[in-house]
């Protein structure tokens, strides 16, 4: 069994009366592609926001590679090895594509970011658009830029929040290849609604409903789980 | 006169300050709350109200009460009109962008000051009070007009409160404050609401100035202190909370009045400004406010 790179115990976050995340235990194995699925409002984005540090934890603990990061600030977690790409694309719209990625590279390495920036852009297929303002890119390309920035951080854990939303079929294929190339050196946790992508990419799947973890297992196990079927997949499997 | 009497005198003075401050700050609270606009020129609306009052009273012949009543009616409307114009010509075109509106209102501040300086002059001029009854208390005589100011402010604020909570216009304003987009989706003309709120805010400040100008004098730089004090009041009371603004105005007006009588007014102001900075840093929602800035 591969080692655990990121784990959470009893993670809880309420917003007023709403229990967004309610006592979730979670283990992410090093080198795997782990998908997080669940109906809308299940708490997926809140959960990864807790992991990445964007939202403070109310109770519970998080450990990265054995180190407790529960109280660590978001920017420090990035430096420790967690990268997060936004559900609603958040690039530097008024800066060139090159600068966007260079800022990520610069965060990780001293010295001239040029070589690594070009490499990251080539990896996602945006090398010829370096001078273009990020805000003028097509939606699909902006998503790719986000991924490029995440990869340029050379994280231990790359968290992707609904990365294929709004992408065309061809773009999704590129994206899937990209994600496969990231592991097993790094680990990927992705929130996805596109079941084809999930079943195709994921080594393991965790299902969240109403802020709680319903089940964790391989795609086959999840498909066969009657509770999951009832809560989420309906009877079209 | 014993300490107790001095304290009562200081408290009455404080109440007058609080009354004027409450009106001015209520205007700012509305603008800040509904439009999310920092109007650095708010103090200038105050000043324009005072200057307009002087013009009206000097033009209207007869007993001072007549001129004063005319000023009370005309000055706030005039200033409200200027504000509506400023909103239409400037703020609306900037789409109420936070940074841009701040810079634009600073520009308006200078323009209004210049207008007053050029048309009214650099001197401070008094306006005669409508009546000069002295109310004789056991320990000292107190200006009846000042007491009337307190009463007038209370009446106006009560009317404002009722207007906001009981009338449709008030409901529309509060809806726009809570969620501009949803309000627009419900068919509310947010552009007109904004112009109206901006005008109302300016009008309240001008009204406060008309009330205070027989006590203080009208001067083209007199907007500076009310601006800072009303900001302090609105922040401590909590953004978007009229009740908080009123309570804060009471506290600040009273303490300013009392401290000024017993200690140096400059020291009081230093403490007040530092206090509001710290409140904003550590308790940004103020005393009553719910939403964060």
């Amino acid at each position: 069994m591969a080692s655990v790179i990121l784990s959470a115990r009893g993670l809880t976050r309420h917003f007023g009366g709403l229990k967004a995340v309610d006592g979730v235990d979670f283990d992410l194995a090093q080198g795997e592609i782990h998908a997080l699925i669940g109906p809308n409002g299940a708490g997926k984005t809140t959960f990864v926001s807790l992991l990445s540090g964007r939202v403070p934890v109310q109770s519970g603990t998080i450990a990265l590679d054995g180190t407790d990061i529960t109280r660590m600030a978001a920017h420090a977690r990035v430096r420790a090895g967690i990268a997060y790409t936004f559900q609603i694309t958040s690039v530097y719209a008024r800066l060139p594509v090159y600068d966007n990625v260079a800022l990520a590279v610069q965060s990780r390495h001293r010295g001239d970011p040029a070589a690594r920036t070009r490499a990251a852009l080539e990896r996602v297929g945006l090398a010829d658009r370096g001078g273009q303002l990020a805000g003028t890119l097509s939606y699909g390309h902006q998503r790719l830029l986000e991924v490029a920035m995440g990869l340029a951080l050379e994280p231990k854990v790359l968290i992707l929040d609904e990365p294929t939303q709004g992408l065309a079929e061809g773009e999704i294929a590129t994206f899937k290849a990209l994600v496969r190339s990231v592991v097993p050196a790094a680990t990927v946790l992705l929130i996805e609604h596109n079941m084809d992508v999930v079943m195709d990419l994921a080594h393991r799947i965790t299902v969240l409903t109403f802020g709680q973890r319903l089940a964790t297992g391989t795609p086959d196990e999840i498909r066969a789980d009657p509770q999951v079927q009832q809560a989420y997949l309906g009877d079209t499997v | 006169m014993g300490f107790g009497a001095f304290f009562l005198l200081a408290s009455l003075e404080g109440l007058v300050s609080a009354a004027v401050l409450a009106l001015t700050a209520a205007g700012l609270s509305l603008v800040f709350g509904v439009m999310r606009v920092v109007n650095v020129a708010h103090g200038e609306f105050f000043m324009l109200g005072a200057v307009a009052a002087w013009f009206v009273t000097s033009l209207v012949p007869g007993p001072p009460a007549l001129g004063f009543l005319a000023a009370l009616a005309i000055a706030p409307c005039l200033v409200a009109g200027i504000a509506a114009l400023a909103d239409r010509l400037v703020l609306k075109r900037l789409n109420y962008d936070p940074d841009a509106t701040i810079v634009a209102t600073i520009g308006l501040l200078y323009i209004f000051q210049q207008a007053a300086l050029s048309l009214y002059g650099p001197e401070a001029r008094p306006v005669p009070a409508p009546f000069s009854i002295r109310v004789q208390l056991p320990w000292f005589g107190y200006s009846g007009y000042k007491l009337a100011v307190i009463a007038a402010a209370a009446v106006v604020l009560a009317a404002l409160w009722l207007g906001l909570t009981r009338t449709r216009a008030g409901l529309v304003m509060r809806a726009t404050q809570i969620d501009r987009e949803t309000a627009a989706a419900f068919g509310i003309d947010t552009g007109r609401v904004y112009a109206g709120v901006f005008a109302l805010g300016a009008g309240l400040a001008a009204l406060a100035a008309v009330l205070v100008v027989p006590i203080q004098q009208a001067h083209y730089l007199m907007g500076h202190d009310p601006l800072l004090l009303s900001f302090i009041t609105v922040i401590i009371g909590g953004l978007g909370s009229l009740r908080g603004t009123l309570v804060a105005a009471l506290v600040i007006g009273l303490s300013d009045g009392i401290i000024s009588v017993f200690f140096s007014p400059t020291l009081a102001k230093i403490i007040a400004t530092l206090l509001v900075a710290l409140v904003l840093v550590f308790r940004p929602q103020g005393l009553f406010g719910g939403a964060r800035t």
Binding site: F86, A93, L95, Y98, L153 | L94, G107, Q113
Partner: protein, 318 residues
């Protein structure tokens, strides 16, 4: 903003050209304009500091007069009451501005946006009132005129036109080159990133609080040395320099010249200086000039002169 891939020489070329022009000016200009330019260069230094906080990092502050005043009074009071000569006086001013910016920043940067604006405005107002409160020592609004004997650097009399110009030039030159290098540096790019998208920057591993604090302290250093130099070179310090009008001034200059450009602060300061000078000779309505300038800028040219030029025609402009 241009791509990071440009060589360093180009962004430095224009500032150096300006410095060459200004150096030549001392030989060509009559004393009246020499004095004006000296003033402009010091105020432009103040504006450059403000530009670092506002133009590059996106911190809209209305409290910079506090940092300028801290520098002015640190140097001025030390000279007046302690006989401290000009060179250490400038150092005191530098430190005073920086220290004040650090103190304010530690608290104020816990807020953002409108709250930050008001907090900085309040701290500056408290500083101004403190100067007035201690009128017995500071002489408040009236201010203190510094004796010429106190204003000497390395044996040279700062009250003398040429020496004064040279001193102002030296300070401005250091500030200009430092700004040009800063905005091209790693940290400069992070400042811009923070301005453009703070949340994104946070999730790239940059600490917003830390970056903004450093930017604010640097801008405080600029303001402090400008204030100290102003007191020592022109022999006067007064509470007016710590009042809110002096917090609005650098905002106006930077907006006019172009926020987020290297030469914008100087251009804006110079333009505004001569504009008000011109207006004062034609009319008494000088406040109007400032007010209308601000309105026109924010309505029609929010990027300022150089900012608009860079946007439309010259993306390589630093």
């Amino acid at each position: 903003m241009k791509t990071l891939a440009l060589p360093l020489a180009l962004p430095l070329a224009l500032p150096l050209a300006l410095l060459a022009l200004l150096a030549a000016a001392t030989l060509l200009l009559p004393p009246y304009h020499e004095g004006n330019l000296a003033r402009i260069m010091l105020l432009a230094t103040y504006a450059m500091g403000y530009n670092i906080a506002f133009g590059y990092t996106g911190l809209l502050s209305l409290g910079h007069a506090l940092f300028f005043g801290a520098g002015m009074y640190a140097a001025g009071m030390a000279a007046e009451y302690g006989g401290v000569p000009a060179a250490p006086g400038l150092a005191l001013g530098l430190l005073g501005g920086g220290a004040m910016a650090l103190a304010v920043g530690l608290l104020a940067l816990r807020t953002s946006g409108v709250s930050f604006l008001i907090v900085t405005m309040m701290f500056a107002q408290a500083g101004y009132l403190t100067i007035l409160y201690n009128t017995d020592v500071t002489r408040g609004e009236e201010g203190i005129v510094l004796a010429a004997a106190l204003r000497r650097i390395a044996g040279f009399d700062l009250a003398q036109d040429d020496t004064r110009y040279l001193a102002a030039f030296a300070i401005f030159a250091v500030g200009l080159i430092a700004q040009a290098l800063l905005v091209r540096s790693r940290f400069g790019r992070v400042m811009v990133a923070m301005r453009e998208n703070e949340e994104r920057s946070r999730m790239l591993g940059y600490s917003p609080y830390r970056v903004k604090l450093i930017a604010l302290v640097i801008s405080g250093l600029y303001a402090g040395v400008a204030g100290a130099a102003y007191a020592l070179l022109f022999g006067y310090m007064g509470a007016g320099f710590a009042a809110i009008q002096n917090s609005i001034a650098p905002l106006l200059w930077v907006l006019l010249g172009g926020a987020g450009t290297v030469l914008g602060p100087f251009l804006g300061t110079a333009a505004m200086f001569y504009l008000t000078d011109l207006a004062a000779s034609l009319t008494t309505a000088t406040l109007l000039v400032t007010g209308v300038a601000l309105l026109l800028l924010v309505l029609f040219a929010p990027k300022g002169i150089l900012g608009t030029i860079r946007d439309r025609w010259a993306p390589w402009l630093p």
